[in-house]
């Protein structure tokens, strides 16, 4: 059961996006998230403009489509990352649906009501979250965890000048990523073992349930310490900390691909900013105005 949970795990391929420098992808992921933030989440208060404000989402969708095509990752593995947070999205959407008072009331029951504005902001909220998750999953899908750790290390290098141990932090991150699946599997085994000894984890009050976790957590801690101990020996044995001039097997070199990617994503950011501050629904009017006949 737990085995199937994906941590946005790396999908090996040799695509344009895979070949990008990890730093590029890290930075552009941030650009993407920022851009997403600037897309308006509600239209205007005017009822006839309830349909406005979708332009940014359409552009984002198109941009992601291009990225996915260039990343050559299967849609399935991207959708899987959405599945993991589906519950949260649904929950937020439901709450959002009932809170807005603006617009025309479409449905009401006792104190609950849904307005058309609420419907639109909810759709936009869902779009925003789904697009965010898809966009953010591109990085781990196309970049090995080691490359991500290396990229972070390189981007954070300036912090090293003020004596922040950047390299060790990157190493910790890399090891943590490496051991997540191992510890997951181990947890599963321990749960099965204790269940076989009659333990149950889903009965009783909160206190009882917390207490029921002890037979899981203690073996897990004990084995994690043992693993850490052995790993330390293995790392020492392989000359960790032998020199300050550690070299890198993975090379981070920016190339023409990175330049293109920067241009593309920044163009996207500019479009989103123009849409918000300069065009202000002009695009929506052009696209939806005629269609809605208003």
């Amino acid at each position: 059961m737990f085995k199937d949970i994906s941590f946005g795990q790396y999908y090996p391929a040799n695509s344009f996006v895979h070949k990008l420098d990890a730093r590029t992808k890290l930075l552009l992921t941030i650009v993407f998230i920022v851009a997403l933030f600037f897309i308006p989440s509600n239209a205007t208060n005017r009822v006839d403009q309830a349909w406005y404000g979708y332009f940014g989402y359409m552009v984002t969708f198109a941009v992601l489509l291009v990225v996915i095509i260039f990343a050559r990752v299967p849609i399935g593995s991207i959708l899987k990352s959405i599945k993991g947070v589906l519950f949260i999205i649904v929950l937020m959407a439901v709450i959002n649906l009932f809170v807005s008072n603006q617009g025309e009331v479409l449905w009401a029951w006792k104190r609950l009501h849904i307005t058309d504005t609420a419907v639109h902001t909810t759709i936009k909220l869902i779009l925003r979250l789904v697009l965010l998750i898809i966009g953010a999953s591109i990085l781990p899908l196309t970049t090995t965890p080691v490359a991500i750790a290396d990229g972070l290390e390189s981007l954070l290098k300036p912090l090293g000048w003020i004596k922040v141990p950047i390299h060790d932090m990157a190493m910790i991150l890399s090891i943590a990523l490496r051991f997540i699946p191992t510890l997951f599997e181990e947890t599963q085994k321990i749960v099965a073992t204790q269940k076989a000894r009659g333990a149950s984890f889903d009965t009783g009050n909160l206190f009882k349930r917390a207490k029921a976790l002890i037979p899981i957590l203690i073996p897990l801690f004990v084995s994690s310490f043992r693993r850490a101990d052995e790993l330390a020996f293995a790392m020492d044995s392989r000359c960790y900390n032998a020199t300050n001039k550690r070299t890198k097997y993975r090379v981070n070199r920016m190339g023409w691909r990175d330049l293109l990617a920067f241009l593309f994503m920044n163009a996207y950011l500019v479009v989103i900013l123009l849409d918000r501050y300069y065009w202000v629904f002009e695009m929506d009017r052009i696209i939806f105005g005629g269609w809605l006949g208003k």
Binding site: M1, D4, G76, A192, T193, Q194, A196, R197, P215, P219
Partner: protein, 285 residues
């Protein structure tokens, strides 16, 4: 009544996802009460999924099964089935968690909701059964013990539940030769005194040839052979069909037979030696 009856058991992980993987395919077998039953198969052949069905750690979806007459599909019986089938997983010492050996062994009986007096009786009995001195070990921390002792305490934790069927997954893994022999002797003792029906999962063919009355061999989730060790290891295509090795004695007999020696099929070194002695004697006459 048979101890275990499994009919047409099929199990698929992550059904209807790209990660779909059929771990068991139409598996049927019967374990009689009092049998030592071997389950063999290479890594990933479905052994572990199969044994987790036997005490309902994995709920049976497709197929039928009864444990000592109780149905694996009857939700009301599952709790009792879990207590009837003791499960010693691989490297069971990693399940230890309590402050003292005594408390750890008592975990199972407590979960069964037994009376305090009964729990105490069972804990003492289980610790002594696995060959540890109760007075010496009861109050010690399980984490201070040696590897072999830890494994014994873990087994005691299962035995204290006094199961009628005991499943052991690779009970000798990682032990030195003496430790392996000791654990197998312990299993024999437990069979006599606590749980008459024993199921051993292993990829050690020499051990299973010696210990088991009956074997099933799995490959990619299907039962390939089902019979006594002699029957199973007599199949000429055993190696190709299961990707396992013959027991050493069987392998030697097969090779010698190829050299033109008329030797009967054997599975244990003892049988091999007596068979060779018989042939040698015949030659000397």
């Amino acid at each position: 009544m048979s101890a275990i009856e499994i009919k047409h058991l099929t199990y698929t992980y992550s059904k209807k996802t790209p990660f779909e993987h059929t771990a068991l395919k139409d598996v049927s077998f019967v374990v009689e009460e009092g049998e030592t039953f071997g389950i063999i198969g290479e890594t990933g052949s479905g052994k572990s999924t199969l044994i987790q069905h036997l005490n309902a750690l994995i709920k049976m979806k497709d197929g039928e099964g009864t444990i000592l007459g109780k149905s694996l599909k009857d939700k009301k019986q599952l709790r009792q089935i879990r207590f009837d089938v003791g499960m010693v997983f691989q490297y069971p010492e990693y399940q230890l968690f309590a402050d003292t050996v005594e408390q750890d062994v008592a975990f199972g009986p407590k979960n069964m909701g037994l009376q305090k007096v009964e729990i105490e009786r069972r804990v003492r009995r289980a610790i002594e059964l696995v060959g540890l001195d109760f007075e010496k070990f009861a109050k010690r921390s399980p984490f201070e013990l040696s590897g072999g002792e830890k494994r014994r305490v873990a087994i005691a934790g299962v035995i204290a539940m006094e199961p009628k069927i005991l499943v052991l997954d690779e009970p000798t893994a990682g032990l030195d030769p003496q430790g392996r022999e000791d654990i197998l002797a312990l299993v024999k003792k437990l069979k006599e005194e606590v749980c008459p029906t024993i199921i051993i999962v292993t990829h050690n063919m020499d051990e299973i040839a010696k210990e088991a009355d009956h074997i099933i061999a799995l490959f990619k989730g299907e039962i390939i052979y089902n019979g006594t060790p002699l029957e199973v290891f007599s199949h000429e295509d055993f190696k190709e069909k299961t990707r396992l090795e013959y027991p050493t004695a069987t392998y030697i007999a097969n090779e010698i037979r190829k050299q033109g020696v008329d030797i009967k099929q054997v599975v244990t070194p003892e049988e091999l030696v007596s068979e060779l002695a018989r042939i040698k004697e015949g030659k000397n006459v």
